[in-house]
Amino acid sequence: MEKRVTFKGWLLPMCLLMPQIIITAVFFFYPAGQAIYQSLFIPDPFGLSMRWVGLGNFEYLLGDPYYRASFVTTAVFSLLVTVTSMGFALYLAVLADRLIKGSGVYRTLLIWPYAVAPAVAGVLWLFMFNTRVGVVSWYLGLLGYDWNHVLNEAEAMGLVVVASSWGRVSYNFLFFLAGLQAIPKSVIEAAAIDGARFWTRFRTIVFPLLSPTTFFLLVVNIVYAFFETFGVIHTITSGGPQQATTILVYKVFSDGFVSQDLGSSAAQSVILLVIVGALTIVQFKFIERRVHY
């Protein structure tokens, strides 16, 4: 039977909830409301005048084939970042979980990249893959491969995906490792005694029991890929070559903070908000059903 704890009165629960509500209101509802409000105007950068355009900003954006194309770019980019960072993190977590000696050292080292800011990570990867002076591109050159992400669209996409995923692997690794360690050893040992090999155990026991963690990370990583990657794009490709790496959030950043087109930038962030909101609802409705808590 379910056990319910209830509070008498409303003062204490309100006090306990208040900090979270205030933070959400100040840092989420207020800015989101401002974005929606501003998306209906074309303001001048200095805030001297606001020109009401209704849905004009949205019409302007959605009528632009280049803006529509960046939806596809964003989908490809987010999918690649999520799959790469989660897949690699899971692989490392499984290996680290099996370690008996020195696991602490590995864990510490694997967590480090998370401390590197996205823009800085971008610069690091850019140095390694610089078409002329980069270490990696130099070795690729020795192998006869001419690395040129300033003109090759696929290479540019690959580079920003790797740079965006790198720091994320650490974050995902932490959660996967915690998830793995929460799985009772007895279940796995029982399966082993029954003759299940490692891969069978992983597929039939570990992965299903890990599903709450995987689901949580899926949501968090998609949000990350959609919102927090503009620093990497800005430092590595500036959205190029052509428009190969112009993802939605990078356009929000560059139109708003580089070009001072605040109306368009606000409208774009509203569109982004709607997409990510819808995506999260879809995930909770359809994918969460397959999650076993």
Binding site: D44, G47, R132, V133, V150, G240, D255, V258, Q260
Partner: protein, 436 residues
């Protein structure tokens, strides 16, 4: 030793702060670090030492874009500096912000400090002056694109390093020779839109945009898809295809390659001189930007890049008096000549150029006079005064994308430039709408 340093620091802090209390403070937000930042700080120190009524305080606010953003955000919060450094691309944005700025000609007239706008070179002044002849912002650092030649690379490829490179036709022949002589990187460029479209248009006296490149009204349209520009981009596209022109990125990434001696020819700002001189371990010289023989009215004059100083609105009259004195100090020929000689930026006043020549600087540093000559060879026309286009940062981004399509061989020059015009015009209409 330590105590003495501390005491010294303490004493100077007291001296500085008492000075600051007595004097009116003038805030100057700028975008310079490194060597340029040091030279800028020297100018401030010199001014502060020269009088006791005002103290100029310089603050570095990031790169050009970040500095402009910081200024805008500060204005919205009512915390704006007195003087804001804005790159040439932001000129239209600042001009349109009528309530946020005090035009320099007004500040100078009211402040009463000696100032002669005609001391500035026409091609520099024109960029920041209205069609009625009122100077809105003070030109600070200006440069123009020139051609850098790696003479050793020419020799290695069996070419005469003194060959005539004044036209693109000749450059084309040089590229053939370099390629045949085994050169992997015959030509690189920095700032492709600025050099190969904006300056190419002015240099050939053909319009980049209608309404005198935007000077005569917000209802301007891009005209960068004219025959002269298309022919140039087509030739560059062919060179890219033949691996004679190597594309290295949207900014000045190619500079690293050229300075390392990997490339033979480099089109880049005259302000790149200091870097090339410091790093190049090969024999180099500077030529004027090539033009197409027989196209347009080339050579006309090239246009500038760089920044100017805008005076922001909302301060006391007493403070503006200090601003006017400081700007007057900055425009003096000693300051300008020193800046020009140390940085490779243009001598922006005629006097500073004459002074530099008289001091024998050009004889000691051959090639440094090219940029100035290129700017002043002819009186600027409506096509070569400069550009005044709203949202120009974004438009440059679009041009970059379209040019990349040409370099990659995905589009021909005409299609790419037509598309750049169409997309850029949409932004110009938006800017017009926001600032009507």
């Amino acid at each position: 030793m330590k105590i003495r340093t501390l005491l010294g620091a303490f004493a100077s802090t007291i001296a500085l702060s008492s000075n600051a209390y007595a004097a009116t403070e003038i805030q100057w937000w700028h975008a310079f670090t490194g060597r340029l930042g040091e030279l800028l700080a020297e100018q401030i120190e010199e001014f502060n030492a020269s009088q006791s009524d005002f103290v100029v305080v310089g603050s570095h606010k990031g790169n050009y874009s970040e500095t402009l953003n910081a200024g805008i955000a500060a204005f919205r919060a009512g915390e704006q500096p007195h003087i804001l450094m804005v790159f040439e691309v932001g000129t239209a944005t600042m001009m349109a912000a009528k309530g946020a700025i005090n035009p320099v000609y007004e500040v100078m007239a009211e402040g009463g400090a000696p100032f002669d706008p005609d001391a500035y070179m026409g091609a520099v002044k024109g960029y920041y002056t209205t069609t009625d002849g009122d100077m809105l912002s003070l030109p600070y650092n200006s440069s123009t694109p020139v051609l850098y030649v790696n003479r050793d690379a020419f020799t290695a490829a069996g070419l005469d390093p003194d060959m005539d490179l004044s036209t693109w036709q000749n450059v084309g022949e040089a590229l053939d020779g370099l390629k045949a002589g085994g050169e992997d990187c015959p030509l690189v460029t920095a700032w492709q839109s600025w050099v190969h479209l904006e300056n190419m248009s002015a240099w050939h006296d053909v319009p980049f945009a209608s309404k005198e490149n935007g000077f005569a009204g917000l209802d301007t349209e891009l005209m960068l898809n004219g025959p002269v520009q298309v022919a140039h981009i087509e030739a560059m596209g062919q060179w890219a295809k033949d691996a004679k022109f190597i594309y290295t990125g949207r900014r000045n990434e190619g500079g690293a390659n050229f300075r390392a001696g990997e490339c033979a020819l480099f089109t880049e700002s005259s302000a790149g001189y200091a870097g090339v001189k410091a790093e190049a371990k090969f024999d180099f010289d500077i030529r004027s930007l090539p033009y197409w023989e027989g196209a347009g009215n080339a050579p006309q004059n090239t246009i500038i890049g760089g920044s100017s100083l805008w005076v922001m609105a909302g301060h006391d009259a007493e403070e503006y008096k200090g601003v006017s004195q400081f700007l007057s100090f900055l425009s003096s020929s000693d300051v300008q000549a020193k800046w020009h000689q140390n940085t490779g930026y243009l001598p922006i006043t005629t006097e500073a150029a004459e002074q530099t020549k008289a001091e024998g600087f050009y004889d000691a540093n051959p090639g440094t006079e090219i940029a100035g000559m290129q700017m002043t060879g002819k009186a600027p026309t409506g096509n070569s005064k400069g550009l005044r286009l709203g949202s120009f940062d974004q438009i440059r981004g679009i041009i970059d994308e379209e040019l990349e399509a040409v370099w990659a061989g995905d589009k021909d020059a005409q299609t790419a430039l037509d598309s750049a015009k169409e997309r850029g015009d949409a932004l110009l209409r938006r800017f017009e709408q926001a600032n009507r």
